[in-house]
């Protein structure tokens, strides 16, 4: 599934250096483009490759000779359904991977994923409120996403606040407050579901929680894509501080950086990015956990190398996961969250067993 150069990281000691990681990043960027261009020809409706590209070329350059492709069913499937969906997949995959990498540094724990700070339970709570109780129905078509987004932000704000009560926050306090807040929000979600007898609503919540890219549209894509892009570029400039986070607070102070302020800022930034990701596609698990690990296995822990590669690999991963989820069962779409976990979990176990790198545990 990874369009990665098929090199094997055989030697335990050797990691790829900076020139290689720049080369790999460029190759991955090309692979993202190739993935989008290839994946757009695949789908449950059969459309010829020529028709697909004619539509895209028409939309990009508006040449007169392709004007027959300006509208109609083929145009709509390619330009309004498939392509926005692929772009969203790339944005969401990149966003989750970058935020996973950053969160693992912020809480100094390689088990962290982008949802660790209560984002997931906050989002589910929001979705439950919206679907079961109709909260926020006035906010328009995607009110479920908006309410989930707001509750996710609220949950991470709460986690940050609680972790700063008493003494200053530290990675352990953050993790524990994240768990506590998650438990509270999950309990409230369950409570609402328990009191309700709206079977349709319960089904909707379940579906929403599994994550889906079906809601993709150019207008919302533009927002999500720019948030992810700006966020990724921002974090790429922060690689030195992210590296220091892995060394811990004391060492960082002796190296001239007080991490406290940065930790708050990074959490805020990831919460925003993840909020938008949740808004556009629900909850897609495992990507944000496994891609950072995979990158560390190849490149070590230096964020200068793993942030760009994680973003691009995450994009490619989710593009193909989405293609698979659309075609694996004919005439039905498998929720992408299910597929990602089905594929991701065994991969993760494989990495764990192979243990060819530190993994954040004892050596």
């Amino acid at each position: 599934m990874e369009n990665h150069p098929a090199k094997k990281n055989s030697a335990k000691e050797a990691r790829w250096g900076t020139p290689v990681s720049i080369g790999v990043s460029l190759a991955l960027l090309a692979a993202v483009v190739v993935s989008v261009v290839t994946a757009v020809t695949i789908g449950s409706t059969h459309i010829s490759v020529k028709d697909v590209y004619s539509v895209i070329l028409y939309e990009l350059f508006h040449p007169d000779e392709l004007s027959p492709y300006a509208q109609g069913a083929v145009h709509d499937v390619v330009w309004l359904i498939r392509l926005p969906r692929l772009v969203l997949a790339a944005a969401v995959g990149a966003g989750l991977s970058v935020c996973g990498t950053v969160m693992q540094a912020v809480v100094k724990n390689s088990l962290a994923d982008p949802y660790i700070l209560g984002v997931s339970s906050g989002a589910s709570f929001g979705a439950t409120l919206a679907i079961m109780l109709g909260v926020g129905a006035a906010l328009g078509r995607n009110f479920v996403g908006i309410v989930a987004f707001l509750c996710a932000l609220g949950a991470s704000a709460l986690v940050m606040m609680i972790s700063n009560l008493g003494t200053r926050s530290n990675p352990v306090k953050l993790l524990l407050s994240g768990m506590a807040i998650s438990a509270v929000f999950s309990a409230f979600s369950s409570f609402i579901v328990y009191l309700s007898d709206d079977m349709e609503g319960i089904k909707n919540i379940t579906y929403w929680l599994m994550g889906s890219l079906a809601g993709a549209a150019w207008s919302s894509n533009a927002v999500v894509l720019s948030v992810v892009l700006v966020g990724t570029l921002f974090f790429m400039t922060q690689y030195r501080t992210l590296n220091l986070m892995l060394l811990g607070d004391e060492v960082s102070i002796t190296l001239g950086t007080n991490l406290h302020r940065y930790r708050q800022a990074y959490m805020l930034a990831t919460s925003l990015i993840i909020g938008f990701v949740v808004y556009s596609s629900g909850m897609i698990g495992f990507v944000g956990l496994i891609i950072p690990h995979f990158m560390r296995m190849l490149f070590g822990s230096d964020h200068k190398k793993i942030l760009p590669t994680a973003a691009l690999t995450g994009a490619i991963f989710l593009i193909w996961a989405d293609v698979l989820s659309r075609i694996i069962i004919p005439h039905t779409e498998l929720p992408i969250g299910i597929l990602v976990s089905m594929v991701g979990a065994p991969c993760f176990v494989y990495l764990l067993v192979r243990r060819s790198y530190g993994f954040g545990g004892d050596n």
């Binding site: 100094k108 004391e250 060492v251 001239g256």
Partner: protein, 261 residues
């Protein structure tokens, strides 16, 4: 670079660990801090390298109070090799040493050729050039400690704080590390466990017991039989080697209780 503590106190969890300690390390002096376990050596050093905030008193680097400097500024003046550095994540040796350049960098600034050169220099100084591409966590404790020293050297500071730097090192590397540091034109403040090492390298020694300063002076002044008995509760014999003039502290086994009296 001169380092000065002026009546520094520190509390941990409500208990006063360090009580009104004043000390001074003049430019390029090698100053040792000795004292039994729990005497407050590490706590005092942590105040100096800013991981703990003193509850009283002021620490000066040259003439600037530490509190007036940003963390970046103090990290450009003072580097630290602490007791134990343990990293869960995989960094190569070169990446670890490169982090010593962090205090000299702006947020968005990239590492340049000069940084790379400084890192190679630092690795050469600790005799670990060949280890640049190794993964830090796969090195032995002693090798790791030398890499951490290299990182401190890469900071290019005029002052070095060592917090029991020779823990986990075998004798050869204890001597090597301290000799290396001694040779450099640096103000060194170090907590030491081994009194013979203190005798061998220190220009001046401060002695801590129960959080208070209970003596200071040159090794000859400090390392006396009755004083060491009082502070460390051990019986020693002190020998001065006729040829080298070096002090050697011989430890004697504790006498059985009270049979002497």
């Amino acid at each position: 670079m001169e380092l000065r503590c002026d009546g520094v106190s520190a509390a941990l969890g409500g208990a006063d660990i360090v009580k009104e300690i004043s000390m001074r390390a003049s430019a390029n002096a090698f100053v040792g801090i000795i004292g039994p376990n729990g005497s407050g050596k590490s706590t005092l050093l942590k105040c100096i390298y800013r991981v703990l905030k003193p509850s009283g008193g002021t620490i000066y680097l040259d003439d600037s109070p530490l509190g007036a400097l940003s963390y970046k500024e103090s990290a450009r003046k003072m580097a630290v090799v602490a007791q134990h550095n343990y990293y869960n994540f995989d960094f190569t040796v070169r990446e670890v040493v490169m982090m010593g350049r962090a205090p000299h960098k702006k947020q968005m600034e990239r590492d340049n050729a000069e940084d790379v050169e400084i890192v190679s220099d630092a690795l050469r100084q600790v005799d670990m050039e060949a280890y640049g591409d190794r993964i830090f966590s796969t090195l032995s404790g002693g090798e790791q400690q030398r890499i951490i020293l290299a990182r401190a050297l890469a900071q290019r500071t005029r002052c070095l704080i060592l917090d029991e730097p020779t823990n986990h090192l075998d004798v050869k590397y204890q001597l090597q590390l301290l000799s290396l540091v001694k040779r450099m034109e640096l103000t060194v403040v170090t907590a030491l466990h081994d009194l013979n090492m203190a005798a061998m390298y220190c220009d001046y020694i401060y002695v801590l017991k129960n959080g208070r300063l209970c003596g200071s002076g040159t090794p000859q002044d400090i390392l006396r039989r009755d004083f060491l008995k009082e502070v460390f509760d051990v019986d020693v014999k002190i020998i001065r080697d006729a040829q080298s003039g070096m002090l050697h502290i011989l430890y004697l086994p504790p006498r059985p209780d009270k049979t002497e009296a």
